[in-house]
Assembly symmetry: C2
Homo-oligomer: 321 residues x 2
């Protein structure tokens, strides 16, 4: 939940006038996304999302993110299309921040994902991976295994405030993941943050994938691992094998999955759990009191980490093996 920046009316009108989308008739800050300021913009002709990029997004990464959305949208993926201004720029500046206007996508993100949602997600994820294959830009995943050590060290001394013994537990996981992290798996452009609030559905159809601001070049199977964590656990912490099986099966029907990817899945899922645990832990420990954004619960990901630590093979995710 965000909206950090107040945009003065005159500045907004001047900014939007640079685009061939008609004059603004309404602009409301929306309570979605925690990294940037997002506005739902109506012009006479259509609805758009206006995003002001706040400091957590690096300016030099924006051409990758916007370029990727444009690439995917042009290939039929239901993702926001950056709108170019009359001079052909997808990236502008508003209120001293980088800013972009993208197309608006209908649909709602599922507050209670079902197995059917997971199945539709599996297909869409595979289609996105295939469509992204020809995208020429690269961006290293700065929240991959190499980046976790730094986050861990920044939290280590105070991790016990969140849970006694947590630092010791994470140190062991991190050491093992660093030692055993897979090498040479099929790699391409991945979303890397495909949580339910980034996926819209409309009736029985997946209508949109949003928020590409963690997208990067990494193992395709790592995206699957993120989704297993984000979609297949119930709120009571139990793992729903049906959801995982339907997601993985739908994915594999569109993009055949090499055995090495399946074999790596337990470790990738454990790593992905550690990644979200570490960023949530960092945010919890460094959350200024009274700030707008309510930090997400790191404990949820301790439980997921422990689950994957005990997994022996991808069979635990409902795959026949």
């Amino acid at each position: 939940m965000a909206v950090y920046t107040e945009v003065p009316d005159g500045d907004l009108e001047a900014f939007v006038a640079r685009y061939a989308i008609g004059p603004v008739v309404s602009c409301k800050g929306i309570a979605e996304g925690v990294e940037n300021s997002n506005f739902l913009l109506h012009t006479g002709s259509a609805s758009y999302i206006l995003t002001l990029y706040e400091k957590r997004v690096k300016r030099e990464d924006l051409p990758f993110f916007l370029g990727l959305m444009e690439h995917l949208a042009a290939r039929g993926i239901a993702c926001p299309t950056p709108i170019r201004d009359r001079e052909g720029n997808a990236l502008g500046e508003l209120c001293e921040r980088p800013a972009a206007i993208v197309s608006f996508l209908d649909g709602m993100w599922p507050r209670r994902p079902t197995a059917r949602h997971c199945q539709l997600l599996g297909t869409a994820l595979a289609e996105m991976h295939l469509a992204g294959a020809g995208f020429p830009m690269q961006r290293p995943n700065d929240l991959a295994v190499a980046g976790w050590r730094r986050l861990f060290e920044a939290c280590r001394a105070r991790a016990h405030e969140v849970m006694p013994g947590l630092a010791e537990e994470l140190a062991a996981d991190l050491g093992e993941l660093e030692a055993r992290w897979p090498q040479g798996l099929p790699t391409g452009t991945i979303h890397a943050d495909l949580f339910p609030d980034n996926v819209f559905f409309l009736g029985d159809r997946l209508s949109g994938i949003i928020d590409f601001y963690f997208a990067c070049t990494d193992f395709y199977a790592y995206d699957l691992a993120v989704c297993i964590n984000a979609w297949c656990f119930e709120t009571d912490g139990s793992f729903n094998t049906t959801k995982a099986r339907m997601m993985l099966a739908a994915y594999a029907k569109t993009r055949p999955v090499p055995p090495a990817e399946y074999a790596a899945l337990p470790l990738l899922a454990r790593g992905s759990a550690l990644r979200f645990l570490l960023t949530r832990l960092y945010d919890r420990l460094n959350h200024p009191p009274g700030a707008f954004v309510k930090p997400k619960d790191p404990i949820e990901y301790v439980r997921k980490l422990r689950f994957h630590r005990a997994v022996k093979s991808a069979g635990a995710y409902g795959l026949d093996s």
Copy 2:
């Protein structure tokens, strides 16, 4: 800035299906309004605002608020029109909260109000007062002079945390306002919270007045006093006489103002400043750390209170007298 309640998709769809507005195609929590959860709802046919009333709004007051909006909208005032469901109800229930759908209004609220905005506001306020004259329901203003004592006593012991000597200063103002508060001024239905974020403009036109959840039966001139405080001070604390003069002149052109109302204006403006000061002070002192809503600055209203305390006649607001 709000959105307190997450609405599960199934619940939302079932709720909207009770109305003849078509199926939901999008629903986004919006970062406006601090008392309730507000969503911008798109159906196939149009845009609406869905509001879930959180605990600060009393359920028994909702028929007054919704009835007033319906009354005003039917008389051409640019305010949200409550949409009735197929059974004729304007008020429903969603996620165990009272909930309503109202029409969406184009326009943006002015981050930097100009004298022209104030002039348009003056006309609209007078039109709203005239249109509300036939509204049959009554609601006492529970944040009028009689309600300030309770708020003050709840803040008294800790007011010095916000500003040394504040309790003593407010005690003197409150005593004087209680003793001298006007009697018998023309009374009707007023908005009572007409801040810039509750008024939308589109080009050179006032396109909407929203947020009737403090509306009540009180002196018309008290609404003017609220607007003087909310619209006519600059961010540096200085009073802009041009803005006040244009607002009051435009108002009087539509609804002639009896001399007794002008005579009472300095006291009403001082009272209105105290009212917003007290609620802001209360919220500041009782703001749970980490809550979503950033409390508004009470000090701004200390300065406004002091300004009006020194005013001898409505001439200070730019009126010829």
